[in-house]
C-alpha cells in the first residue's frame, strides 16, 4: 500500500497535531488545536474518497464537538498556567503509549490494500450492495442505501442513542420538560 504525497503529509500533520493536543496545558488552546486535528482528518477522508465520512468529521469533529468543549470551558473556567506545554511527561505513560502503537502497527501489514478487489468484503457484501441499491431501494448514494436501507436496524439504534443522549443531558441538568 503506497501513500500519495498529500496523504502522507496529512498523516504527518495529524500525528504532530495529536501530540500538541496531548501536551498543551491550556484547555482552550488544546480545544482549538483539536479542531484543527478534525479538519485534517476530514481532508484525509476526502483524499481517501470517503466524502460522507469527511462531511461527518468536519461537522461533528471540527464543528459541534469544538463548540461543546467551548461552552464547557466557559462554564468551568480554564486554569491559567505559566508554561505553554506540559513539562514533565511520565516516562511510563510514554512507554505504554508506544507499546500500544507498536502492537497496533504490527497488525497493519495484515490488512488488505486499500481498494483491493480480492479482499473479503469486496467478494460478496460490497457487490450485493452496489448491485441492489438502485433496484431494491431506488437510492443512488450507496452509502445512504447501506445506512438507511440495508443496515437500517443499526442506524435506528444509533438514532435512539443520540435521542437518549439528549434525554440524559436534560435529566442530569434537571431540566426535563414538564
Amino acid at each position: 500500500m503506497t501513500l500519495g504525497g498529500l496523504t502522507a503529509a496529512l498523516v504527518a500533520f495529524l500525528v504532530v497535531v495529536a501530540l500538541v493536543v496531548a501536551l498543551l496545558r491550556d484547555v482552550l488552546a488544546a480545544t482549538v488545536v483539536f479542531a484543527a486535528y478534525s479538519l485534517g482528518m476530514a481532508i484525509l477522508w476526502v483524499t481517501l474518497q470517503a466524502p460522507d465520512v469527511a462531511l461527518t468529521e468536519a461537522a461533528v469533529g471540527a464543528g459541534v464537538t469544538t463548540s461543546l468543549f467551548l461552552v464547557a470551558i466557559i462554564e468551568t473556567g480554564r486554569p491559567a498556567g505559566a508554561a505553554t506545554f506540559v513539562g514533565d511527561v511520565d516516562v511510563t505513560s510514554i512507554a505504554a503509549t508506544l507499546a500500544v502503537v507498536g502492537v497496533l502497527a504490527a497488525t497493519v501489514p495484515a490488512l488488505p490494500a486499500v481498494g483491493d478487489p480480492g479482499s473479503a468484503p469486496f467478494l460478496r457484501v460490497v457487490p450485493h450492495y452496489l448491485e441492489q441499491a438502485v433496484p431494491l431501494l431506488g437510492v443512488q448514494n450507496v452509502v445512504t442505501a447501506i445506512l438507511a436501507g440495508f443496515r437500517a436496524f443499526d442506524t435506528f439504534g444509533e438514532v435512539v442513542v443520540v435521542f437518549a443522549a439528549g434525554v440524559a443531558v436534560l435529566v442530569v441538568f434537571g431540566r426535563e420538560v414538564p
Binding site: D52, V64, I74, Q140, N141, A148
Partner: protein, 160 residues
Amino acid sequence: MREPRSAESVVVTTSVRLVAPFVVTFGLFIMFHGASSIGGGFQGGVVVASAVVTIAFGFGIDQTARWLDRARLTAAATLGVLAFAVAGLGPVLFGGTFLEFPVYPGPTGALYAVEVVEVGIGVTVAATIVVLFVEIAGGFGAEAGHGGDTGADPAGEEIE
C-alpha cells in the same frame, strides 16, 4: 442578572447574519439529498444545528437559549425517532418484516421510506445537538456561573 455573553463585535454579528441562512440551506440540502448525493440525515442535522450554535456564539448564548423553545426541541427529537420507527413498521402492513423497505409498493416506495428515515434522523440529530449545546451552556443552575470571563451571577433563572 448575568452579563449577556455575546461577542459584542460588529464583524462577528454581521458575519453570522450573512452566513447562517446559507449554512441552514446547505444543511437542509444535505438532509434532503442524502439519497442522491453525499451526506444524509445525520450530516444535514449536524450542519443545521451548527448554524444555531453559530448564532448563539454571535448573538449571545443566553439570548439564543431564551429564544429556543425547550419543549418544541424535545418534541422534535422525539418525532424524528418516531418517524423512523413508523417508516420501519410500515413494511409489516405489506407482509414484510421490520425495516424491509423494498416491500413498499410502487417504484419509488422504498426511496420515500429512506427519505422519511433520513429526515427523521436529521430532525432528531439537529434538535439533540441544540439541546446539548444550550443545556451545557446553561450550566448547573444555581451552582454555575462562577467560571469564564464574564460569569458574574448564576444563570439558572433564564432557563425555562
